[in-house]
Symmetry: C2
Subunit: 350 residues, 2 copies
C-alpha cells in the first residue's frame, strides 16, 4: 500500500474529532463535514480540510469515509450520501451497534461499499472541544463483515485502522459484535444505573452514601455518564441487552433463593451456636464460576502476557471465516504485510 | 480526656495490624494477640506488645479491646474473653456486619461492655505483611449502639477512633448499618460476581473480553477479590442481601420488559424507517431516577463540598437518638470536646 489514504470524516465530535486529529498527526489527508460549522475554525487550524455539505465531502472522493455522526442521524446522513458517493470511496462507521447500522446502510442502497467498524475508545466527555488524538492510543477496533463484504473494501478499512490510525483489529460478524458489546458494556450500564437507583430510593441513602467505598464508586461510575446517551445505546442493542438482563436477574434471584434457604436451614438447626449456616454447593459454584476470569486478569496484572506474533495467510474464498476464527482465538491483527498476509498478536485466551 | 488510652487488639491481619501500627504511630500503648505468633517478631520491632493468650490480653486491662479477628472465629474468641475480661475494659470490633456480632457478644454475656464499630477501610490484600497505618487515612467508622449501650463505653470507643486513630464517626443502630452495608457493598459484590460469571459462561468470551473497556473493568473489579471472603460477607448479612438482590432482579427485569415492548411496538409500526423505537416514560424514569446521585457526585467532584462544622450537645436520655439523627443528616463526628459535646462536619446530603 504505497500511497497514504485520503480520509473523509462525518461528524467532528469526541470520536470523529479525535480521529481527524490523529490522522492529521500521522500525515493523512483529512476532509471533514460537521452538522454545524462551529468547530471548523479550530479544525482547519489543526490541519483538517472542512467542507460545507455532505455532497462536497463525497465529491472529494476520499479513499474511505468514516461516519462518526450520532446513530440517530444515520438515516439522514446515508440518504444524502447515497446520491453523491463515488464507487471508489469505501464507507465505514464507528457506531457501538453494528447490525442496526448495516440495516440502515442497506436501506440507503450503500451496502456494496460498506464495511462496519467500532473502535474501543471513548471517555465520558463529548464534542470537538474534547477531541484528543491520544484517545486512540493502543485502541482495538472491531471490524464487521458479512457474506457480501468485498475483500478490497475490507482491506481499505483495515489499512486505515492499522497503518492510518496505528491501531489493532479483530474481525467479527454483526451478531457476535452486538452480543459481545451488550455483555461487556450495554447491559452493565443498565446494572450500574439500577444500583444508583437502589441508593436514591433508599430512606437511609445518606448513611449508605457515607459508608460507600471503592466497590460502590467503581460499580456506579458509568451511571454518572449522560443517561440519555446510555439509554439510546441500550435501545439500539435492545434484543441482546434484554436477554442479558433476564440472565442477570435469574442469577441474582438464584443467589437470593440460596441465601433464603441457608437462613431457613440455620433456624431449624438444633445447634444454637450455628449462626453462620452451612454453605450449599450451588453457592460455592456461583462464586467459583468466575475463577477463569480471575486467572485471566491475574495473568494480565502479572504482566506475563507478552503477545507472540503470528502470520495469517488468507484464502480467496475463506478469508471471512479465517479472520472470524482468528478473533475467537483471541488474536489481534496489527499489520497488513501484503494483500493476503497479516501479522497478528496472539493474546491470552479466557 | 487527659490520659492516652491503652488499646488491646485481637488479630494482627490487614485491619488489626494496620490499626496497631497506626495507634503506635500516634503514641498509644498497644497490646496484641494473634492466633499464631508468626507476626510477633515484626510487630514487636514496630512497638506493639504481643501476648501469648487472650487471657493475658484481658489481664493487661486495656481501656478498649478491639476484636479484629475473622467473624468465623468470633464465638471462640468471645468465649475465651468471657472468663477473663475485667469490667474496666470496653469491648469493640471491626466486623462488616453488626447485628450478628452483637448476637454473639450477647451469647457470651459480654454485651454490657460492648459497643460495635466498623471502619470503612480495607483493600484487596490480607495478613500482617499487608498491614499499613495509612490504611486508616481519612477513614469513617460506623459506631453501632442499641438501647442498652452504656454512654461511657460509647465515649471510650469514640475517643479511640477520633483522638486515637484520628478518624471520623457516624453513629448507627445495627439494622441501619447492616442494610446500608448490604446496599453499597455486600449486594454489589454479588452483582460483580454475576457479571463475571456472565462472561465466563459466554461462548464468545474471548471476543467480549477483547472489547471490554473501563466500564467492564470497574464493574467486575471486586469479583477478583477472594471469593471465599466475599461469600462469607454475603452470608453474614444474608437477609439484607437477599432483599436487595430481589429488588435488583426486579429492576433489571422491568428494563428487559420495556425493551421487549419497545421492540414489538417498533415491529408493528407502519413507518419502515423507524428502526429506533419510541421510548416510553417508564424507561425515561428509570434513567432519571439516579439524577440525585449524579448531582451529589458532581458536587463532590467539583470540590464544592467544604464541610462546615457544627457542635452537637447531647442529652442524658436522648443521646442515642440525637446521634442517629445526626448520621441521617449526613454529619460526621470528628472530635470530642467534652463529655457531652462533639464537633461534627456537615457533609452534603443526597
Amino acid at each position: 500500500m504505497p500511497k497514504a489514504q485520503t480520509v473523509g470524516i462525518v461528524g467532528l465530535g469526541l470520536i470523529g474529532g479525535s480521529l481527524a486529529l490523529r490522522l492529521v498527526d500521522r500525515d493523512r489527508t483529512v476532509i471533514a463535514w460537521n452538522h454545524t460549522a462551529r468547530p471548523y475554525e479550530s479544525a482547519r487550524a489543526a490541519g483538517v480540510r472542512c467542507v460545507d455539505t455532505l455532497a462536497d465531502l463525497a465529491a472529494a472522493a476520499p479513499d474511505v469515509i468514516v461516519l462518526c455522526n450520532p446513530l440517530k442521524a444515520m438515516p439522514d446522513v446515508l440518504g444524502e450520501l447515497a446520491g453523491s458517493l463515488v464507487p471508489e470511496t469505501t464507507l465505514t462507521d464507528v457506531g457501538s451497534v453494528k447490525g442496526m447500522v448495516r440495516d440502515q446502510v442497506k436501506a440507503a442502497g450503500l451496502d456494496a461499499q460498506y464495511v462496519g467498524a467500532h473502535p474501543m475508545a471513548g471517555n465520558e466527555r463529548s464534542g470537538w472541544a474534547a477531541a484528543d488524538p491520544t484517545l486512540y492510543d493502543g485502541a482495538l477496533w472491531a471490524v464487521t463483515v458479512d457474506d457480501s463484504t468485498d475483500y478490497h473494501r475490507f482491506l481499505a478499512v483495515a489499512e486505515l485502522i492499522t497503518a492510518g490510525v496505528g491501531n489493532r483489529i479483530i474481525v467479527l460478524d454483526d451478531t457476535v459484535h452486538d452480543q459481545a458489546a451488550a455483555l461487556i458494556s450495554h447491559m452493565p450500564h443498565v446494572v450500574a444505573t439500577a444500583l444508583a437507583n437502589q441508593l436514591t430510593d433508599d430512606p437511609n441513602r445518606n448513611v449508605a452514601a457515607a459508608l460507600a467505598a471503592g466497590c460502590w464508586r467503581d460499580m456506579t461510575r458509568v451511571a454518572l455518564t449522560d443517561p440519555d446517551r446510555t439509554r439510546a445505546m441500550v435501545e439500539e442493542d435492545a434484543a441482546n441487552v434484554e436477554a442479558l438482563l433476564r440472565s442477570m436477574a435469574a442469577k441474582l434471584t438464584a443467589v437470593a433463593d440460596l441465601l433464603r434457604d441457608e437462613a431457613s436451614e440455620a433456624r431449624s438447626d438444633s445447634d444454637p451456636g450455628a449462626s453462620v449456616p452451612h454453605t450449599p454447593a450451588a453457592m460455592l459454584d456461583f462464586f467459583a464460576d468466575a475463577d477463569p476470569f480471575r486467572a485471566y486478569k491475574a495473568a494480565e496484572r502479572a504482566g506475563g502476557v507478552t503477545p507472540e506474533q503470528r502470520t495469517i495467510e488468507l484464502t480467496d474464498d475463506g478469508w471471512r471465516g479465517e479472520l472470524l476464527e482468528s478473533a475467537r482465538r483471541g488474536e489481534h491483527v496489527i499489520r497488513l504485510d501484503g494483500p493476503r498476509r497479516f501479522t497478528a498478536e496472539v493474546r491470552s485466551a479466557l
